[in-house]
Symmetry: C2
Subunit: 431 residues, 2 copies
């Protein structure tokens, strides 16, 4: 077996388990060089992978490193994954909800690279919150509180890490089997028995079209079938920021507004309720989806979800007072210079503007400013007058001109009063 | 401009001259890494290149290194290239023919890697023949004798060298625009104004099908049009060894047999006459192809081609007596173990068997044994009896069992008397 023969075979035929393993293991242990792996990945980009091949690739990547041992939990482990969006704090919101309904949350989470931080970065916006716990503390918190989220210390899916870094610089990111196997391998190595996927579609998402998003969803549901994991995929709209807050502390604050019931209507609530309900169903805590939705809504209205949030944050050393205290951070307002109706956003630009303020990492070594962020004051369908607020910026930077310009240009304002803000939930796909 | 954007663009659109130059120059000067170039090459494998893109790539590769300055020659420089075959000594045969008809031959030739050596290796089978001459000696020989062939000392087309080495290990060899631009760039950098291409088709050739060979021919003729070089492509059959001799000294000896008229009928004569005639026409030494063919045949029958061969070899220090002298080399005979008609060969295996005897290089650092070789005693259509000679092997190795086995299995013998040995010339393509 050799790499060139396998690359050439893939041009015309499907590969065997052993051939895929030869490539992935060889690349992970440095016996296959970058240039052969990139040629192989580009061949996959053009020729695709069969469902068997995609599932084998997923398995082989899982086997390439550590797997998190959650055998101390008797319950079904239900995990959740989002393909990533601007203002996406759904993980923060649903964690205490599902934990309050008896679904254990035991997660090792990576840090974010991009618009805003990852879940761990957001939690670190809360003063005192520790994302490094011993294995014992992690287990104890899961057993006693029902939730623990820590930074990733184990060597999970090293094959995916190495392959992903190569895909990023060789034009091989946008391949559905490669995306699907990358996501699924990380969730499985993380210990998940069942997974709810939030697949974003639109200007702020990696998947720009519903068709591609649905193809990705179907691929991941099918991998789940092959590898004995229940998978539900929810296609959600990302044609504007999710909710009204973007940035680390901003998103924690909006999470609290949702959990306390202060915020009553929002696309971020709709998505969070659906994700949490599917998790409750997969975790066997409800007989059907309608009952699951009721349980989720009740957990917010009866305060149990917010109590669980407090308990979780406190158990990991976080100081809840720090979240709502005054911050000496500069606020700037971006106003509309015309009247009309908000038609849409270049959502990726909103994310980019927030990163520039200090809320995200442009490179791995950047330090995140937890206070930097944006409040979105008008969403799709809203009527605005000249001079109305579009965004409020929070930043410690002296100069936010670049972000202000990007934000101004990110909003499309129409004269038509027929702009409709569509439901954020597009479709639910399960096996 | 950056490599990933260019790779991604090539997935859907044609590139500009500047984008191709960015990739090729960047790779040649090491600012673009192997893994991006291999992803780019694989994208080209799948998406192809337009004629403009292919011509630009050719030009850019020519510009990446030295170009041979043949301005001391007033005449049209007509060069010849073969895509390579087993027993292909056509360059040796046509060089003195066209030189005797007034077409200057001034070549810097690379060494071969594969079945047998390149032209330079074959000439070195003649004792005393020097392939390293000063620029002055090279020029003087071209002016006085009309021919000089030396080893390549200049840094011709370094971009192609580096890209070719990468293609070889990334499954991106078999791409017509990449093959066409590689060949054409080397010929143009070598100083050619007009080029006759001998494109081999069949079991012993890189192009297995006529269709692909014709596509390659058309691509190279079109590159010639764009870059103002006259190009004629001859598709020739490589379903058996060309002529009867394979190996370095063997091929020199067969060359002499052709030039002296000792060998009168052979596929290698047919191909050589056609290549030489097309060169004579491109070099403006005849008004039409029929007159060119007559001039070529006359140059053999009147001895002028052979005289020129002697003059050329002697001018570069070669001792013609060494070619026909007895050699203390072991001869072994491979006999047929059944009767019938020769139906065909696995020609690549014949080449491989000859290499194993010492006639070719399996790796760059192998030393060629000029005396090692094979005589093919029966060709397609020949009737043979049990015990008849199929091959005569010449080797200095103690054990030639591997070669003997490969050769035995390389011949297909049929009971049918209807086996036809088709003309080796399939088609001639010019602009």
């Amino acid at each position: 077996m050799n790499a060139v023969d396998i690359i050439n075979k893939k041009k015309n035929e499907n590969l065997t388990y052993d051939e895929i393993k030869y490539m992935v293991d060889g690349y992970t242990n440095d016996s296959i060089p970058d240039y052969q792996m990139s040629a192989f990945l580009m061949t996959i980009y053009f020729k695709g992978l069969s469902l068997d091949e995609t599932s084998w690739l997923t398995e082989i990547m899982v086997d390439s490193g550590d797997q998190i041992d959650l055998s101390f939990i008797d319950d079904v482990i239900v995990d959740k994954h989002s393909t990533g969006g601007v203002g996406d704090k759904v993980s923060l919101i649903i964690t205490p909800i599902v934990a309050s309904l008896g679904i254990p949350v035991a997660k090792m989470s990576g840090r974010g690279l991009g618009h805003t931080g990852g879940t761990v970065d957001k939690l670190e916006a809360i003063k005192g919150f520790k994302t490094e716990l011993s294995d014992k503390e992690f287990e104890d918190n899961v057993k006693n509180v029902g939730v623990s989220i820590i930074g990733q210390s184990k060597n999970l899916v090293p094959a995916d890490k190495k392959i992903y870094a190569l895909r990023d610089v060789t034009g091989t990111v946008d391949s559905i089997p490669l995306i699907a196997s990358s996501i699924m391998s990380k969730k499985i190595a993380g210990g998940a028995d069942a997974i709810v996927l939030d697949i974003k579609v639109g200007s702020g998402a990696f998947m720009k079209s519903e068709e591609r998003a649905e193809e990705l969803a179907n691929t991941m549901v099918s991998i789940g079938n092959k590898l004995k994991r229940k998978v539900v995929a929810i296609l959600t709209r990302m044609d504007q920021p999710l909710g009204n807050e973007v940035g680390n502390l901003n998103e924690v604050q909006e999470t609290i507004d949702v959990l306390t019931g202060k915020l009553k209507e929002s696309d971020v609530i709709d998505v969070s309720v659906e994700v949490a309900s599917q998790m409750v169903l997969l975790g066997n805590k409800a007989d059907n989806i309608d009952k699951a939705r009721q349980l989720v809504k009740d957990s917010i209205s009866n305060g149990k979800a917010y109590d669980k949030f407090n308990e979780f944050i406190t158990a990991q050393g976080g100081n809840m007072d720090s979240v709502t205290g005054n911050d000496n951070v500069k606020e700037l307002v971006v106003k509309s210079d015309k009247r009309g109706y908000i038609e849409g956003f270049d959502t990726q630009d909103v994310g980019h503007a927030t990163s520039l303020l200090g809320a995200g990492r442009l490179t791995k070594n950047d330090v995140i400013d937890p206070l930097a962020g944006i409040t979105v004051k008008a969403k799709i369908g809203d009527e605005i007058s000249k001079g109305d607020d579009l965004f409020v910026i929070r930043t410690n930077h002296d100069n936010a001109d670049d972000s202000i310009n990007i934000l101004k240009n990110s909003v499309r304002i129409s004269d038509s009063r027929d702009i409709v803000n569509k439901s954020p939930i597009i479709k639910i796909i399960s096996s």
